[in-house]
């Protein structure tokens, strides 16, 4: 794991939290969405805060895709554990939501749990592909033109 790869993983967490928080703030201004007026949930993405949140979520997707190209899904997901801490801080100090002691403990447990995963290898070793093995071991006569 290089420093650059760790930066990508941090990007996954930070962009996800920022995007989610902006979307949340936008949705709180809209209020409750009725299942009978589905057009409202489509049009809501044009609100500035929701739109900016969507941009951050696109940045999250870019980092996430990059991370998935060189690490296991079960390795990449735990790295978002720091996002739980960030999200709770955002909920408490920016969105002014009530965050109880139990929720803080929950955040701690999740962070501890996912912390275990990051101690292991990032990628499951893949068995050699059959075709490449056959190409390497094929007799020379089989590879030459008749």
């Amino acid at each position: 794991m290089t420093f650059r790869k760790y930066l990508v993983l941090v990007g996954v967490a930070v962009f996800a939290v920022t995007g989610d928080s902006l979307v949340s703030r936008g949705m709180k201004e809209v209020g409750g969405v009725s299942l009978h007026h589905l057009s409202g949930i489509v049009l809501v993405v044009f609100r500035p805060e929701v739109a900016l949140g969507v941009l951050f979520l696109l940045a999250f997707l870019s980092c996430y895709l990059a991370a998935l190209s060189w690490a296991d899904l079960t390795y990449v997901l735990p790295t978002t554990s720091i996002s739980f801490i960030l999200l709770t801080l955002v909920a408490k100090f920016i969105l002014h939501e009530n965050v109880s002691v139990a929720r803080w403990l929950g955040v701690l447990m999740i962070s501890l749990g996912v912390g275990f995963v990051t101690q292991g290898p990032a990628l499951t070793p893949q068995p050699r592909r059959r075709e490449s093995h056959e190409r390497i071991t094929a007799p020379i006569s089989a590879r030459t033109e008749p």
């Binding site: 979520l57 895709l65 739980f84 749990g113 499951t124």
Partner: protein, 126 residues
């Protein structure tokens, strides 16, 4: 009643997110290391390879469904409940799905993490 709606949204997010995550992971493993590929063939080639992969299209559709389910959920409950609950449960379901469909080596550390995350989710819902 709003709590019931919120948990329904969470269940929908978990199912669609897991589908999306597994398919995205499969796509990117098929594409290969993005950094190396970008050096060799350029960014446009990398983006083209990702966009042409059928798994990617289905994954994005699943994630879009999860996104709208999240919008519904956020309008019914606090962000510090809906997002951690759905993301954590998705983490557990992803561990199972990754083992079954992606054949990832999910060792005792990763299973322990899944249990701790599930416990954390219960606390978050208090």
């Amino acid at each position: 009643m709003k709590q019931l709606y919120a948990w329904g949204a969470v269940a929908c997010i978990v199912l669609t997110s897991t589908t999306g995550d597994v398919l995205l992971s499969r796509t990117m493993k098929q594409v290969g290391d993005v950094a190396e590929l970008r050096k060799r063939s350029g960014l446009a080639h990398v983006i083209g390879r990702i966009l042409r992969n059928p798994n990617f299209v289905i994954a994005i559709m699943a994630m879009a469904t999860a996104f709208y389910a999240m919008l519904f959920g956020l309008s019914w409950a606090d962000v510090s409940l809906v997002v951690p609950a759905s993301t954590s449960l998705t983490f557990v379901s992803n561990a199972v799905a990754a083992k079954i469909f992606l054949h990832e080596r999910v060792d005792h550390r990763r299973w322990l993490a899944a249990v701790l995350v599930a416990g954390g989710v219960i606390l978050l819902a208090q």
